[in-house]
Point group: C2
Chain length 217, copies 2
DNA sequence: ATAAATTGTTAGACGACTCTAATATTTTAA
DNA sequence: TTAAAATATTAGAGTCGTCTAACAATTTAT
Protein backbone atom coordinates (compact mmCIF):
# COMPACT_ATOMS: atom_id res chain seq x y z
CA UNK A 1 0.00 0.00 0.00
CA UNK A 2 1.34 3.32 -1.11
CA UNK A 3 0.49 6.83 -0.08
CA UNK A 4 -2.90 8.40 -0.59
CA UNK A 5 -1.57 10.33 -3.57
CA UNK A 6 -0.13 7.21 -5.11
CA UNK A 7 -3.43 5.42 -4.68
CA UNK A 8 -5.26 8.24 -6.43
CA UNK A 9 -2.87 8.11 -9.37
CA UNK A 10 -3.27 4.36 -9.71
CA UNK A 11 -7.02 4.62 -9.54
CA UNK A 12 -7.13 7.32 -12.19
CA UNK A 13 -4.82 5.44 -14.50
CA UNK A 14 -7.09 2.45 -14.19
CA UNK A 15 -10.21 4.48 -14.85
CA UNK A 16 -8.74 6.13 -17.93
CA UNK A 17 -7.32 2.92 -19.31
CA UNK A 18 -10.65 1.13 -19.08
CA UNK A 19 -11.54 2.53 -22.48
CA UNK A 20 -8.28 2.76 -24.36
CA UNK A 21 -5.73 0.53 -22.69
CA UNK A 22 -3.08 3.24 -22.69
CA UNK A 23 -3.15 6.50 -20.78
CA UNK A 24 -1.35 9.71 -21.62
CA UNK A 25 0.33 12.05 -19.21
CA UNK A 26 -1.87 14.95 -20.25
CA UNK A 27 -5.12 13.04 -19.66
CA UNK A 28 -3.94 12.06 -16.21
CA UNK A 29 -2.92 15.62 -15.40
CA UNK A 30 -6.35 16.84 -16.39
CA UNK A 31 -8.17 14.18 -14.39
CA UNK A 32 -6.09 14.71 -11.25
CA UNK A 33 -6.03 18.47 -11.61
CA UNK A 34 -2.28 18.75 -11.39
CA UNK A 35 0.26 20.02 -13.89
CA UNK A 36 2.09 17.87 -16.41
CA UNK A 37 5.46 17.81 -14.64
CA UNK A 38 3.83 16.56 -11.46
CA UNK A 39 2.38 13.63 -13.33
CA UNK A 40 5.63 13.03 -15.14
CA UNK A 41 7.61 12.66 -11.94
CA UNK A 42 4.99 10.62 -10.16
CA UNK A 43 4.72 8.24 -13.08
CA UNK A 44 8.46 7.71 -12.91
CA UNK A 45 8.14 6.85 -9.25
CA UNK A 46 5.31 4.43 -9.95
CA UNK A 47 7.44 2.84 -12.63
CA UNK A 48 10.34 2.21 -10.25
CA UNK A 49 7.81 0.58 -7.93
CA UNK A 50 6.67 -1.64 -10.80
CA UNK A 51 3.12 -0.37 -10.58
CA UNK A 52 3.12 0.97 -14.12
CA UNK A 53 5.06 0.29 -17.28
CA UNK A 54 6.27 3.53 -18.73
CA UNK A 55 8.71 4.78 -21.33
CA UNK A 56 9.15 8.52 -22.04
CA UNK A 57 6.84 9.87 -24.74
CA UNK A 58 4.96 6.57 -24.75
CA UNK A 59 1.79 5.83 -22.84
CA UNK A 60 1.35 4.64 -19.28
CA UNK A 61 0.10 1.13 -18.57
CA UNK A 62 -0.67 -0.50 -15.26
CA UNK A 63 1.27 -3.65 -14.48
CA UNK A 64 -0.54 -6.65 -13.02
CA UNK A 65 0.54 -5.42 -9.60
CA UNK A 66 -0.80 -1.95 -10.34
CA UNK A 67 -4.06 -3.29 -11.68
CA UNK A 68 -4.53 -5.38 -8.57
CA UNK A 69 -4.01 -2.34 -6.37
CA UNK A 70 -6.42 -0.28 -8.47
CA UNK A 71 -9.11 -2.91 -8.17
CA UNK A 72 -8.63 -3.12 -4.42
CA UNK A 73 -9.19 0.62 -4.11
CA UNK A 74 -12.20 0.56 -6.42
CA UNK A 75 -13.62 -2.29 -4.37
CA UNK A 76 -13.29 -0.24 -1.21
CA UNK A 77 -14.79 2.82 -2.89
CA UNK A 78 -17.85 0.98 -4.12
CA UNK A 79 -18.40 -1.00 -0.94
CA UNK A 80 -18.21 2.26 0.97
CA UNK A 81 -20.75 3.91 -1.32
CA UNK A 82 -23.23 1.09 -0.95
CA UNK A 83 -22.72 0.98 2.78
CA UNK A 84 -23.38 4.70 3.05
CA UNK A 85 -26.63 4.28 1.16
CA UNK A 86 -27.94 1.00 2.56
CA UNK A 87 -26.77 1.10 6.14
CA UNK A 88 -26.36 4.78 6.82
CA UNK A 89 -29.30 6.01 4.80
CA UNK A 90 -27.51 8.61 2.72
CA UNK A 91 -28.59 9.45 -0.83
CA UNK A 92 -26.80 8.05 -3.89
CA UNK A 93 -25.93 11.62 -4.87
CA UNK A 94 -23.95 12.37 -1.71
CA UNK A 95 -21.87 9.25 -1.16
CA UNK A 96 -19.15 9.56 -3.78
CA UNK A 97 -17.20 12.33 -2.05
CA UNK A 98 -17.24 10.48 1.26
CA UNK A 99 -16.19 7.25 -0.46
CA UNK A 100 -13.26 9.11 -1.99
CA UNK A 101 -11.97 9.39 1.54
CA UNK A 102 -13.08 6.01 2.89
CA UNK A 103 -11.45 4.15 0.02
CA UNK A 104 -8.08 4.96 1.59
CA UNK A 105 -8.90 3.46 4.97
CA UNK A 106 -6.48 0.66 5.66
CA UNK A 107 -8.33 -2.03 7.54
CA UNK A 108 -9.28 -5.40 6.14
CA UNK A 109 -11.52 -5.90 9.17
CA UNK A 110 -13.53 -2.77 8.37
CA UNK A 111 -14.14 -3.74 4.76
CA UNK A 112 -14.67 -7.40 5.52
CA UNK A 113 -17.43 -6.37 7.89
CA UNK A 114 -19.05 -4.01 5.38
CA UNK A 115 -18.97 -6.75 2.77
CA UNK A 116 -20.63 -9.13 5.23
CA UNK A 117 -23.30 -6.67 6.37
CA UNK A 118 -24.21 -5.98 2.76
CA UNK A 119 -24.21 -9.67 1.97
CA UNK A 120 -21.32 -9.70 -0.53
CA UNK A 121 -22.93 -7.18 -2.86
CA UNK A 122 -22.21 -7.18 -6.60
CA UNK A 123 -23.13 -3.58 -7.51
CA UNK A 124 -22.72 -0.14 -6.00
CA UNK A 125 -25.55 2.42 -5.73
CA UNK A 126 -24.77 3.72 -9.23
CA UNK A 127 -24.93 0.28 -10.75
CA UNK A 128 -21.15 -0.11 -11.03
CA UNK A 129 -19.85 -3.62 -10.38
CA UNK A 130 -17.94 -4.21 -7.15
CA UNK A 131 -14.75 -6.23 -7.71
CA UNK A 132 -14.56 -9.24 -5.41
CA UNK A 133 -11.77 -9.59 -2.87
CA UNK A 134 -9.52 -11.13 -5.53
CA UNK A 135 -10.10 -8.19 -7.84
CA UNK A 136 -12.37 -10.12 -10.15
CA UNK A 137 -14.97 -7.89 -11.71
CA UNK A 138 -18.28 -9.11 -13.03
CA UNK A 139 -18.62 -7.25 -16.30
CA UNK A 140 -22.10 -6.72 -17.58
CA UNK A 141 -22.74 -5.83 -21.17
CA UNK A 142 -24.01 -2.30 -21.24
CA UNK A 143 -26.03 -0.30 -23.67
CA UNK A 144 -26.43 3.42 -23.40
CA UNK A 145 -29.91 4.92 -23.57
CA UNK A 146 -28.87 6.82 -26.69
CA UNK A 147 -28.51 3.58 -28.63
CA UNK A 148 -32.06 2.39 -28.09
CA UNK A 149 -34.63 2.50 -30.90
CA UNK A 150 -37.91 4.31 -30.40
CA UNK A 151 -40.58 2.10 -28.88
CA UNK A 152 -38.18 -0.13 -26.97
CA UNK A 153 -38.54 -0.64 -23.23
CA UNK A 154 -35.51 -1.15 -21.01
CA UNK A 155 -34.39 -1.13 -17.40
CA UNK A 156 -31.87 1.36 -16.05
CA UNK A 157 -28.93 -0.61 -14.68
CA UNK A 158 -26.22 1.97 -14.12
CA UNK A 159 -25.02 5.53 -14.52
CA UNK A 160 -21.44 6.22 -15.56
CA UNK A 161 -20.94 9.25 -13.42
CA UNK A 162 -21.35 9.79 -9.73
CA UNK A 163 -20.88 13.52 -9.50
CA UNK A 164 -23.44 15.14 -7.25
CA UNK A 165 -24.76 17.61 -9.84
CA UNK A 166 -25.51 14.84 -12.32
CA UNK A 167 -27.28 12.67 -9.77
CA UNK A 168 -29.22 15.64 -8.41
CA UNK A 169 -30.41 16.15 -11.97
CA UNK A 170 -31.60 12.55 -12.22
CA UNK A 171 -33.29 12.82 -8.83
CA UNK A 172 -35.17 15.86 -10.05
CA UNK A 173 -36.32 13.89 -13.10
CA UNK A 174 -37.32 11.00 -10.85
CA UNK A 175 -35.01 8.43 -12.42
CA UNK A 176 -33.46 5.59 -10.43
CA UNK A 177 -31.52 2.40 -10.95
CA UNK A 178 -34.00 -0.39 -11.71
CA UNK A 179 -36.61 1.84 -13.31
CA UNK A 180 -38.24 0.68 -16.54
CA UNK A 181 -38.39 3.27 -19.29
CA UNK A 182 -39.74 3.31 -22.83
CA UNK A 183 -38.19 5.39 -25.60
CA UNK A 184 -40.93 7.61 -26.88
CA UNK A 185 -39.01 9.94 -29.15
CA UNK A 186 -35.45 10.45 -30.30
CA UNK A 187 -34.78 13.94 -31.63
CA UNK A 188 -32.44 13.96 -34.58
CA UNK A 189 -31.64 17.65 -34.22
CA UNK A 190 -30.02 17.66 -30.78
CA UNK A 191 -29.97 13.99 -29.80
CA UNK A 192 -32.35 14.52 -26.91
CA UNK A 193 -34.68 11.71 -25.88
CA UNK A 194 -38.19 11.59 -24.47
CA UNK A 195 -38.89 8.69 -22.15
CA UNK A 196 -42.06 7.19 -20.86
CA UNK A 197 -41.43 6.36 -17.22
CA UNK A 198 -43.20 3.80 -15.06
CA UNK A 199 -44.59 6.76 -13.12
CA UNK A 200 -46.50 7.51 -16.37
CA UNK A 201 -44.65 10.78 -16.64
CA UNK A 202 -42.85 11.85 -19.76
CA UNK A 203 -39.23 12.69 -19.17
CA UNK A 204 -37.03 14.69 -21.52
CA UNK A 205 -33.30 14.00 -21.38
CA UNK A 206 -30.58 15.80 -23.27
CA UNK A 207 -28.06 13.71 -25.19
CA UNK A 208 -25.42 14.63 -22.63
CA UNK A 209 -27.49 13.11 -19.87
CA UNK A 210 -28.90 10.14 -21.80
CA UNK A 211 -25.48 8.91 -22.87
CA UNK A 212 -24.49 8.45 -19.24
CA UNK A 213 -27.42 6.16 -18.49
CA UNK A 214 -27.00 2.45 -19.13
CA UNK A 215 -29.83 0.06 -19.67
CA UNK A 216 -30.65 -3.57 -20.23
CA UNK A 217 -33.35 -4.38 -22.73
CA UNK B 1 -8.93 22.04 8.90
CA UNK B 2 -5.26 21.28 8.71
CA UNK B 3 -3.41 18.28 7.39
CA UNK B 4 -3.67 14.83 8.88
CA UNK B 5 -0.33 15.32 10.60
CA UNK B 6 -1.39 18.63 12.04
CA UNK B 7 -4.59 17.08 13.35
CA UNK B 8 -2.62 14.36 15.08
CA UNK B 9 -0.36 16.89 16.76
CA UNK B 10 -3.32 18.91 17.99
CA UNK B 11 -5.02 15.82 19.30
CA UNK B 12 -1.93 14.65 21.14
CA UNK B 13 -1.31 18.06 22.66
CA UNK B 14 -4.88 18.05 23.91
CA UNK B 15 -4.58 14.55 25.35
CA UNK B 16 -1.33 15.32 27.15
CA UNK B 17 -2.58 18.65 28.48
CA UNK B 18 -5.69 17.09 29.97
CA UNK B 19 -3.71 16.29 33.10
CA UNK B 20 -1.17 19.07 33.42
CA UNK B 21 -2.32 22.01 31.31
CA UNK B 22 1.10 22.41 29.73
CA UNK B 23 2.82 20.01 27.39
CA UNK B 24 6.53 19.63 26.75
CA UNK B 25 8.21 19.03 23.45
CA UNK B 26 9.77 15.81 24.68
CA UNK B 27 6.45 14.33 25.82
CA UNK B 28 4.92 15.10 22.49
CA UNK B 29 7.85 13.60 20.63
CA UNK B 30 7.48 10.41 22.64
CA UNK B 31 3.73 10.20 22.13
CA UNK B 32 3.91 10.82 18.38
CA UNK B 33 6.99 8.67 17.92
CA UNK B 34 8.98 11.36 16.16
CA UNK B 35 12.22 13.08 17.11
CA UNK B 36 12.49 16.31 19.06
CA UNK B 37 13.38 18.60 16.15
CA UNK B 38 10.33 17.41 14.21
CA UNK B 39 8.10 18.44 17.06
CA UNK B 40 9.96 21.69 17.49
CA UNK B 41 9.40 22.75 13.92
CA UNK B 42 5.79 21.60 13.79
CA UNK B 43 4.99 23.43 17.01
CA UNK B 44 6.37 26.59 15.47
CA UNK B 45 4.08 26.09 12.48
CA UNK B 46 1.10 25.51 14.75
CA UNK B 47 1.99 28.67 16.63
CA UNK B 48 1.99 30.79 13.46
CA UNK B 49 -1.46 29.34 12.75
CA UNK B 50 -2.59 30.40 16.23
CA UNK B 51 -3.45 26.85 17.17
CA UNK B 52 -0.98 26.77 20.07
CA UNK B 53 0.71 29.32 22.27
CA UNK B 54 4.39 28.62 22.42
CA UNK B 55 7.62 30.25 23.54
CA UNK B 56 11.01 28.51 23.23
CA UNK B 57 11.99 26.50 26.31
CA UNK B 58 8.49 27.02 27.71
CA UNK B 59 5.59 24.62 27.41
CA UNK B 60 3.04 24.27 24.64
CA UNK B 61 -0.57 25.28 25.23
CA UNK B 62 -3.53 24.99 22.91
CA UNK B 63 -5.32 28.21 22.08
CA UNK B 64 -9.11 28.29 22.11
CA UNK B 65 -9.01 27.69 18.38
CA UNK B 66 -6.69 24.72 18.88
CA UNK B 67 -8.81 23.30 21.65
CA UNK B 68 -11.89 23.54 19.49
CA UNK B 69 -10.18 21.67 16.70
CA UNK B 70 -8.94 19.00 19.12
CA UNK B 71 -12.42 18.43 20.47
CA UNK B 72 -13.84 18.16 16.98
CA UNK B 73 -11.36 15.41 16.16
CA UNK B 74 -11.97 13.61 19.44
CA UNK B 75 -15.69 13.80 18.79
CA UNK B 76 -15.21 12.16 15.41
CA UNK B 77 -12.92 9.50 16.86
CA UNK B 78 -15.36 8.51 19.58
CA UNK B 79 -18.44 8.63 17.38
CA UNK B 80 -16.59 6.40 14.93
CA UNK B 81 -15.64 3.92 17.65
CA UNK B 82 -19.19 3.64 18.91
CA UNK B 83 -20.53 3.31 15.39
CA UNK B 84 -18.09 0.52 14.65
CA UNK B 85 -19.25 -1.36 17.74
CA UNK B 86 -22.99 -0.69 17.71
CA UNK B 87 -23.78 -0.60 14.02
CA UNK B 88 -20.99 -2.63 12.48
CA UNK B 89 -20.67 -5.21 15.22
CA UNK B 90 -16.94 -4.95 15.81
CA UNK B 91 -15.41 -5.56 19.24
CA UNK B 92 -14.37 -2.69 21.51
CA UNK B 93 -10.79 -3.93 21.30
CA UNK B 94 -10.53 -3.55 17.54
CA UNK B 95 -12.13 -0.17 16.86
CA UNK B 96 -9.50 2.29 18.02
CA UNK B 97 -7.10 1.76 15.13
CA UNK B 98 -9.87 2.16 12.58
CA UNK B 99 -11.17 5.26 14.36
CA UNK B 100 -7.65 6.73 14.17
CA UNK B 101 -8.24 6.81 10.43
CA UNK B 102 -11.93 7.70 10.38
CA UNK B 103 -11.42 10.69 12.67
CA UNK B 104 -9.75 12.47 9.74
CA UNK B 105 -12.67 12.03 7.37
CA UNK B 106 -13.92 15.44 6.37
CA UNK B 107 -17.68 15.23 5.99
CA UNK B 108 -20.18 16.82 8.31
CA UNK B 109 -22.88 14.76 6.63
CA UNK B 110 -21.12 11.49 7.51
CA UNK B 111 -20.74 12.36 11.16
CA UNK B 112 -24.13 13.99 11.46
CA UNK B 113 -25.64 10.73 10.24
CA UNK B 114 -23.60 8.60 12.63
CA UNK B 115 -24.64 10.85 15.50
CA UNK B 116 -28.27 10.48 14.47
CA UNK B 117 -28.14 6.73 14.02
CA UNK B 118 -26.60 6.36 17.47
CA UNK B 119 -29.15 8.74 18.92
CA UNK B 120 -26.74 11.51 20.01
CA UNK B 121 -24.66 9.23 22.20
CA UNK B 122 -22.81 10.55 25.25
CA UNK B 123 -20.12 7.89 25.67
CA UNK B 124 -17.84 5.84 23.46
CA UNK B 125 -17.37 2.06 23.83
CA UNK B 126 -14.59 2.59 26.36
CA UNK B 127 -16.72 4.87 28.50
CA UNK B 128 -15.04 8.07 27.31
CA UNK B 129 -17.36 11.05 26.91
CA UNK B 130 -18.17 12.21 23.39
CA UNK B 131 -17.95 16.00 23.03
CA UNK B 132 -21.10 17.48 21.52
CA UNK B 133 -21.01 19.31 18.20
CA UNK B 134 -20.02 22.53 19.99
CA UNK B 135 -17.11 20.81 21.69
CA UNK B 136 -18.79 20.69 25.06
CA UNK B 137 -17.73 17.65 27.01
CA UNK B 138 -19.79 16.11 29.77
CA UNK B 139 -17.20 15.39 32.43
CA UNK B 140 -17.99 12.67 34.87
CA UNK B 141 -16.17 12.42 38.15
CA UNK B 142 -14.06 9.34 38.00
CA UNK B 143 -12.49 7.09 40.58
CA UNK B 144 -9.92 4.51 39.73
CA UNK B 145 -10.40 0.96 40.96
CA UNK B 146 -7.18 1.28 42.94
CA UNK B 147 -8.72 3.90 45.19
CA UNK B 148 -11.61 1.76 46.39
CA UNK B 149 -11.66 0.31 49.90
CA UNK B 150 -12.08 -3.41 50.42
CA UNK B 151 -15.70 -4.46 50.60
CA UNK B 152 -17.04 -1.69 48.38
CA UNK B 153 -19.08 -2.45 45.30
CA UNK B 154 -18.89 -0.28 42.20
CA UNK B 155 -19.77 -0.18 38.52
CA UNK B 156 -17.15 -0.01 35.80
CA UNK B 157 -17.78 3.15 33.80
CA UNK B 158 -14.68 3.57 31.67
CA UNK B 159 -11.18 2.44 30.82
CA UNK B 160 -8.48 5.01 30.14
CA UNK B 161 -6.76 3.13 27.41
CA UNK B 162 -8.01 1.71 24.18
CA UNK B 163 -4.99 -0.22 23.03
CA UNK B 164 -5.89 -3.63 21.74
CA UNK B 165 -3.59 -5.58 24.04
CA UNK B 166 -5.10 -3.99 27.14
CA UNK B 167 -8.67 -4.59 26.01
CA UNK B 168 -7.87 -8.15 24.97
CA UNK B 169 -6.63 -8.63 28.51
CA UNK B 170 -9.89 -7.33 29.96
CA UNK B 171 -11.87 -9.50 27.55
CA UNK B 172 -9.93 -12.52 28.78
CA UNK B 173 -10.79 -11.58 32.36
CA UNK B 174 -14.43 -11.12 31.37
CA UNK B 175 -14.68 -7.45 32.36
CA UNK B 176 -16.90 -4.96 30.53
CA UNK B 177 -18.22 -1.44 30.88
CA UNK B 178 -21.29 -1.53 33.13
CA UNK B 179 -20.20 -4.56 35.16
CA UNK B 180 -20.61 -4.41 38.93
CA UNK B 181 -17.56 -5.51 40.92
CA UNK B 182 -16.77 -5.81 44.62
CA UNK B 183 -13.28 -5.26 46.01
CA UNK B 184 -12.41 -8.45 47.81
CA UNK B 185 -8.75 -7.89 48.59
CA UNK B 186 -6.14 -5.20 48.06
CA UNK B 187 -2.57 -6.49 48.27
CA UNK B 188 -0.21 -4.05 49.94
CA UNK B 189 2.86 -5.73 48.52
CA UNK B 190 2.30 -5.20 44.79
CA UNK B 191 -0.91 -3.19 44.66
CA UNK B 192 -2.84 -5.96 42.95
CA UNK B 193 -6.56 -6.28 43.55
CA UNK B 194 -8.94 -9.23 43.75
CA UNK B 195 -12.48 -8.53 42.54
CA UNK B 196 -15.70 -10.34 42.94
CA UNK B 197 -17.50 -10.14 39.64
CA UNK B 198 -21.22 -10.42 38.96
CA UNK B 199 -20.39 -13.65 37.17
CA UNK B 200 -19.45 -14.93 40.69
CA UNK B 201 -15.91 -15.40 39.50
CA UNK B 202 -12.95 -13.98 41.33
CA UNK B 203 -10.73 -11.81 39.19
CA UNK B 204 -7.16 -10.82 39.99
CA UNK B 205 -5.91 -7.57 38.51
CA UNK B 206 -2.43 -6.14 38.74
CA UNK B 207 -2.04 -2.54 39.85
CA UNK B 208 -1.06 -1.60 36.31
CA UNK B 209 -4.38 -2.87 35.00
CA UNK B 210 -6.58 -1.76 37.90
CA UNK B 211 -5.43 1.85 37.75
CA UNK B 212 -6.75 2.11 34.19
CA UNK B 213 -10.25 1.05 35.18
CA UNK B 214 -12.68 3.76 36.34
CA UNK B 215 -15.70 3.11 38.47
CA UNK B 216 -18.71 4.77 40.03
CA UNK B 217 -19.64 3.69 43.55
C1' DA C 1 28.48 26.77 42.85
C1' DT C 2 30.16 23.95 39.61
C1' DA C 3 29.42 19.62 37.05
C1' DA C 4 26.34 16.42 35.09
C1' DA C 5 22.06 15.21 33.23
C1' DT C 6 18.00 16.54 31.00
C1' DT C 7 15.56 19.08 27.80
C1' DG C 8 15.13 22.11 23.81
C1' DT C 9 16.83 24.54 19.61
C1' DT C 10 19.35 25.37 15.26
C1' DA C 11 21.56 23.97 11.00
C1' DG C 12 21.37 21.34 7.25
C1' DA C 13 19.64 17.57 4.64
C1' DC C 14 16.20 14.45 2.41
C1' DG C 15 11.84 12.34 0.42
C1' DA C 16 7.21 13.14 -1.31
C1' DC C 17 4.56 16.10 -3.99
C1' DT C 18 3.74 20.14 -6.22
C1' DC C 19 4.75 24.28 -9.20
C1' DT C 20 6.72 27.60 -13.29
C1' DA C 21 9.75 28.29 -17.05
C1' DA C 22 12.51 26.43 -20.48
C1' DT C 23 13.29 22.83 -23.73
C1' DA C 24 12.51 18.62 -26.42
C1' DT C 25 9.79 15.30 -29.02
C1' DT C 26 5.96 13.84 -31.74
C1' DT C 27 2.00 14.75 -34.53
C1' DT C 28 -0.54 17.44 -37.91
C1' DA C 29 -1.13 20.67 -41.27
C1' DA C 30 0.53 23.77 -45.03
C1' DT D 1 8.89 18.37 -46.13
C1' DT D 2 9.26 22.02 -43.52
C1' DA D 3 6.48 24.82 -40.10
C1' DA D 4 3.13 25.00 -36.55
C1' DA D 5 0.65 22.83 -32.88
C1' DA D 6 0.20 19.58 -29.42
C1' DT D 7 2.46 16.74 -25.95
C1' DA D 8 6.01 15.48 -22.93
C1' DT D 9 10.33 16.17 -20.31
C1' DT D 10 13.88 18.55 -17.66
C1' DA D 11 15.66 22.09 -14.57
C1' DG D 12 15.07 24.32 -10.58
C1' DA D 13 12.47 25.76 -6.73
C1' DG D 14 9.02 25.60 -2.70
C1' DT D 15 6.16 23.41 1.14
C1' DC D 16 5.44 19.78 4.45
C1' DG D 17 7.16 16.68 7.48
C1' DT D 18 10.82 14.09 8.84
C1' DC D 19 15.79 13.07 10.22
C1' DT D 20 20.98 13.48 12.40
C1' DA D 21 24.50 16.16 14.37
C1' DA D 22 25.86 20.01 16.85
C1' DC D 23 24.91 23.33 20.18
C1' DA D 24 22.23 25.96 23.97
C1' DA D 25 19.43 26.41 28.04
C1' DT D 26 17.57 24.61 32.23
C1' DT D 27 17.26 21.55 36.03
C1' DT D 28 19.36 18.40 39.41
C1' DA D 29 22.89 16.41 41.96
C1' DT D 30 27.38 16.68 44.12
MN1 LIG E 1 -17.96 6.96 -6.71
MN1 LIG F 1 -20.37 4.62 -7.64
MN1 LIG G 1 -9.73 5.41 20.68
MN1 LIG H 1 -12.36 5.14 22.98
Amino acid sequence: MGSLTEENYIKSIYALSEATGEVYVSELAKKLEVKLPSVNSMVKRLATKKLVAYAPYKGIKLTEKGKKEALAIIRKHRLAELFLVKVMGLGWEEVHDIAEQLEHVNSSRFYERIDELLNRPKFDPHGEPIPDSNGKIHNQQRTSLIHLEEGLTATITAVTEDEKSFLDHLNAKGLQIGDAVTIKKRELFDGSITLLHKSKKEILLTHQVAERIWVEV
